[in-house]
């Protein structure tokens, strides 16, 4: 059975393994581009908690992957986003894209991350010795999506 395109999970992921699976059996692949987001160790943040909207999250990311397939000549996409409690240095998210030539997978990978940042229902909460606080959305993420001709309406 082929691996799913989108996974929301508590467990960590292995980028190399995911990339290998993504291109397995497809010798038309000439480029694999991937992005991994990690928990930044800023100030006295001891942990990060990730909440999401079960059901909608998967639908929203599947729709993004469909949109990436419409826009770019790509062959395969794999998106994994972790939820629950994470520590500084932990991996949060990965996007991997395969294509025949590098340009399309570079672009699709960035498009997917820009889209995910403002359109997938995840929320981060930072824990510090002073208490916990929800992370604010960044308007720069909205700007990033605008580059692709999409109005984000998030931050």
């Amino acid at each position: 059975m082929a691996a799913p395109r989108v996974s929301i999970q508590h467990d960590d992921f292995d980028l190399a393994k995911e990339c290998e699976q993504l291109r397995a059996g497809d010798d038309g692949v000439g480029a694999v581009c991937s992005f991994v987001g990690t928990v930044r160790g800023s100030g006295d943040v001891s942990a990060m908690e990730l909440e999401h909207y079960p059901g909608m999250t998967e639908k929203a990311i599947e729709a993004m992957v469909d949109e990436a397939n419409r826009r770019f000549d790509i062959r395969g996409v794999r998106v994994i986003h972790r939820i629950g409690e994470l520590k500084p240095g932990d991996q949060i998210v990965m996007v991997a894209v395969t294509s025949a030539h590098r340009h399309e997978s570079f672009e699709a990978c960035e498009f997917l991350m820009d889209y995910l940042k403002t359109q997938a229902p995840f929320w981060k909460k930072e824990h510090t010795p002073q208490g916990a606080q929800w992370v604010d959305a960044r308007s720069s993420d909205d700007e990033a999506l605008k580059r692709w001709g999409i109005e984000a309406r998030n931050g």
Binding site: K59, P121, F122, W123, W134, A137, N154
Partner: protein
């Protein structure tokens, strides 16, 4: 009609529950939000006009003009911060 309303993140914490069935006269998401604001307290504060609140109907991001249907799922949440 009855709709299933869900709250997430800071809005869920403020209101003190993750969801409820709401009996409403509202035809749109915006009108439903106004009905909830009229309840006062944490509803009025966390859903206040001028606050950045995003909405989804049937698990798709929408705006205030989105129409409600009997039994539909409506969610209110703050701007998203994943990735």
């Amino acid at each position: 009609m009855k709709v299933s309303v869900k709250y997430f993140a800071s809005i869920r914490e403020a209101i003190g529950q993750s969801g409820e069935l709401v009996q409403t006269q509202a035809a749109t998401v915006g009108a439903l939000r106004d009905e909830l604001i009229v309840r006062g307290g944490a509803y009025a504060q966390s859903l206040a006009r001028g606050k950045l609140v995003r909405v989804a109907v049937a698990q798709v991001m929408r705006d205030d003009t989105a129409a409600l249907e009997e039994g539909c799922e409506v969610a209110f949440f703050p701007p998203v911060t994943g990735g």
